[in-house]
C-alpha cells in the first residue's frame, strides 16, 4: 500500500487527485504529493527499512508510488564516503561525499526516473519522454528500455558527446533541439499539452519524479546511523533536488525515523555562467531573473529554474548560503576531488566541490560541522571538459632508460614490501628512482 493522500498545490493549497498532474489549474503553482504522516509514523520502522533492498525502494513507504516490482536498475544506496584528505585540504573537520556517480546510469537522475516511470506505468503510460541536459536523458532511455516502454528524449543539440552516446545506445528516440535547455524545456511543456498520452517525466509526472530526490536525504541519514548532518552542499539546476533533500530530512523526523528534529543547513552550488538563484541570494531579492547559460556545467545550465524560488527559500530558512564558481574553479574542483578521494565527478560535481571550497574559505561551512557534499554525476559523462588538461604525464619509448629519465617519483612516498631475497633487516628497497624529488 502507499500512504499518498493526493496532490496539493504548493502555492494555493488546492487539492488534486494523485494522477498525471503537475501544475495547479488555477495559479500554475507546482503540485506536491501529500502523505498521511500519522499513518506512516505508526507503520514505518528502521528495522523494516534495513531489511529492504539495497536500492531507493527500501524507502518505498515514503515514495509516491507502491509497486511490488518497480522499474529499477538497482538505483540508490550509493556510497557515503568519509573524505578526510579533502577535508584536510579545505580546513574542514568531518566531511562526507555522497557518491551518487555510482548509480546505474551514472547520476542521481536514476532516483527520480525510477520513481516517475514506475508511477507512469501504473497510470497506463507507454511512452516515456523528457527534456534533458543529458543525465536525465541517459536515465529515461535506460529505464524505458528495461520496462519495454518507448522513449523519446529531447536534448539541446550542443550536449557533450558522451551524454548523447550513452542515451542513444538504449535504442529510443533522441531528439536534438537547436537551442538551449530552456528552449527544450519550453518545447516539451507545450508538447505535453498536445500529447497527453506521453509521460514527460519532468513535466506531467514531475510531481512524482521530484519525490525521488528525497532518497538522497534518506540514505545519508541512515548511513550516518539515523542522524542528520549539520550542513549539506547541493548543486542547483532547476532547484528541485535541493528542495527535496531538505524535505527528505524533515520527513524522516515527521515519521519518527529521526529522534531529534534535524537542523540541516542547506547550501546551494551554481556555476557563474548560469547562476540565477545564487545571484538572487547575493542580492537579497526574491526575484529570480532568468539568464542565458554559458558554462561547462551543462547539466546545471538551466537559465529559468522552475524551483529556483523554493531553493532560495530553503537555503535562507536553513541558514545556508549560495556560491557561484567559474569554469576554471569547476575544473579545479573536479581535479581536487579526484586527487584527494579517488572520485571522478562530472562538471556539476566540480561545481559542488568548488563551492564547498569557497564556502569553507569564507567560514560559511565550518570545521565543527558534519558536512555532506552531494556529487551527483560521473566524470566519464563530461570528459570533454578535461581533455585539454588531463593526459599522460609522460610519453616514452618502451625502454628502462626512457622510463628512468621521464618518471620521477619521490622515494619517501614509495613504500612497498621488501624485495624478495633481501636479508632481513636490510634495505627496504633498492635505490630511489633517479631524479626523485627527495
Amino acid at each position: 500500500m502507499d500512504f499518498v493522500t493526493g496532490l496539493r498545490c504548493r502555492e494555493c493549497a488546492r487539492p488534486y487527485p494523485a494522477e498525471a498532474l503537475h501544475v495547479c489549474d488555477y495559479c500554475f503553482g507546482p503540485l506536491e504529493v501529500a502523505y498521511d504522516y500519522e499513518a506512516l509514523r505508526s507503520s514505518v520502522t528502521r528495522q523494516q527499512i534495513a531489511a529492504g533492498p539495497h536500492t531507493i525502494w527500501r524507502y518505498a513507504p515514503l515514495l509516491p508510488v507502491s509497486d511490488p516490482e518497480p522499474i529499477d536498475l538497482g538505483t540508490g544506496w550509493t556510497p557515503l564516503v568519509r573524505a578526510d584528505r579533502l577535508a584536510a585540504e579545505l580546513g574542514l573537520g568531518e566531511l562526507w561525499i555522497k557518491n551518487d556517480t555510482a548509480n546505474p546510469t551514472g547520476s542521481f537522475k536514476d532516483r527520480v526516473v525510477s520513481v516517475a516511470l514506475t508511477k507512469a506505468r501504473q497510470l497506463g503510460f507507454k511512452v516515456a519522454a523528457c527534456a534533458s541536459t543529458g543525465n536525465l536523458a541517459n536515465s529515461v532511455a535506460a529505464h524505458a528500455a528495461r520496462a519495454g516502454m518507448v522513449s523519446v528524449v529531447f536534448i539541446p543539440r550542443d550536449l557533450e558527446v558522451a551524454k548523447i552516446v550513452t542515451t542513444a545506445v538504449y535504442g529510443g528516440h533522441v531528439v536534438a533541439v537547436e537551442g538551449t535547455y530552456d528552449d527544450v524545456n519550453r518545447l516539451c511543456a507545450e508538447l505535453t499539452s498536445e500529447l497527453p498520452s506521453w509521460a514527460f517525466v519532468n513535466v506531467n509526472v514531475r510531481t512524482y519524479y521530484a519525490e525521488g530526490s528525497k532518497t538522497l536525504a534518506f540514505e545519508v541519514a541512515e548511513q550516518l546511523g539515523w542522524e542528520a548532518p549539520d550542513h549539506v552542499i547541493v548543486p542547483v539546476g532547476s532547484g528541485s533536488q535541493l528542495t527535496k533533500i531538505a524535505k527528505g530530512f524533515a520527513e524522516l523526523h515527521a515519521v519518527g525515523l529521526l529522534d531529534e528534529e534535524p537542523h540541516v543547513r542547506v547550501s546551494g552550488a551554481q556555476a557563474v555562467g548560469c547562476s540565477p538563484v545564487a545571484t538572487a541570494f547575493a542580492e537579497g531579492t526574491d526575484a529570480i531573473r532568468p539568464v542565458k547559460p554559458h558554462t561547462i556545467a551543462k547539466s546545471l545550465a538551466i537559465g529559468n529554474p522552475a524551483d529556483g524560488w523554493y531553493a532560495l527559500e530553503t537555503v535562507r530558512r536553513s541558514g545556508g548560503a549560495f556560491a557561484a564558481v567559474t569554469d576554471d574553479e569547476i575544473l579545479d574542483g573536479i581535479r581536487l576531488l579526484a586527487r584527494t578521494e579517488g572520485i571522478f565527478a562530472e562538471t556539476a560535481g566540480g561545481v559542488t566541490i568548488a563551492t564547498l571550497a569557497k564556502l569553507a574559505a569564507a567560514g560559511v561551512v565550518r570545521r565543527d560541522e558534519r558536512v555532506v557534499a552531494y556529487v551527483t554525476g560521473h566524470g566519464l559523462k563530461t570528459v570533454e571538459a578535461l581533455v585539454d588538461t588531463a593526459g599522460p604525464t609522460a610519453t616514452i619509448a618502451p625502454t628502462l632508460e626512457a622510463f628512468h629519465e621521464a618518471v620521477a617519483i619521490d622515494a619517501t612516498v614509495q613504500g612497498g614490501p621488501a624485495p624478495r631475497g633481501t636479508v632481513a633487516g636490510g634495505p627496504a628497497s633498492g635505490s630511489p628512482v633517479p631524479g626523485g624529488r627527495s
Binding site: 488555477y26 497527453p196 546545471l300 538551466i302
Partner: protein, 91 residues
Amino acid sequence: MSVTVRVPAQLRTLTGGEAQVAVEGSTVGEVLKGLEAAHPGFGDRLFDESGSLRRFVNVFLADEDVRFLDGLDTLVTDGQTLSIVPAVAGG
C-alpha cells in the same frame, strides 16, 4: 495587430477547448488583456494582485521568453505567436 495565443491544456476550459486563439493588441500586456476580455478568467490565472505575471507563468513571444524582451511592454507584430507555458524544469 492580431496575435495567435497558444493556450496550455490547463487553461483550455476558458477557451472552450481551443488550443490557440487570435487576439488583438500592440503589446504583450494588451494581448493578454484582450485574452481576458474575450475569454473571462485568464486575468485571474495569469496575474497576481499587483498586476504582475504570477511567479509560475511563463510567456513566450515567437519562442522567446518575454522577460528577455520588454516584459509586458514588449511590442508585438501582426501574425506573431504568443505562448503561455507553466514553469517546469528538470535536467
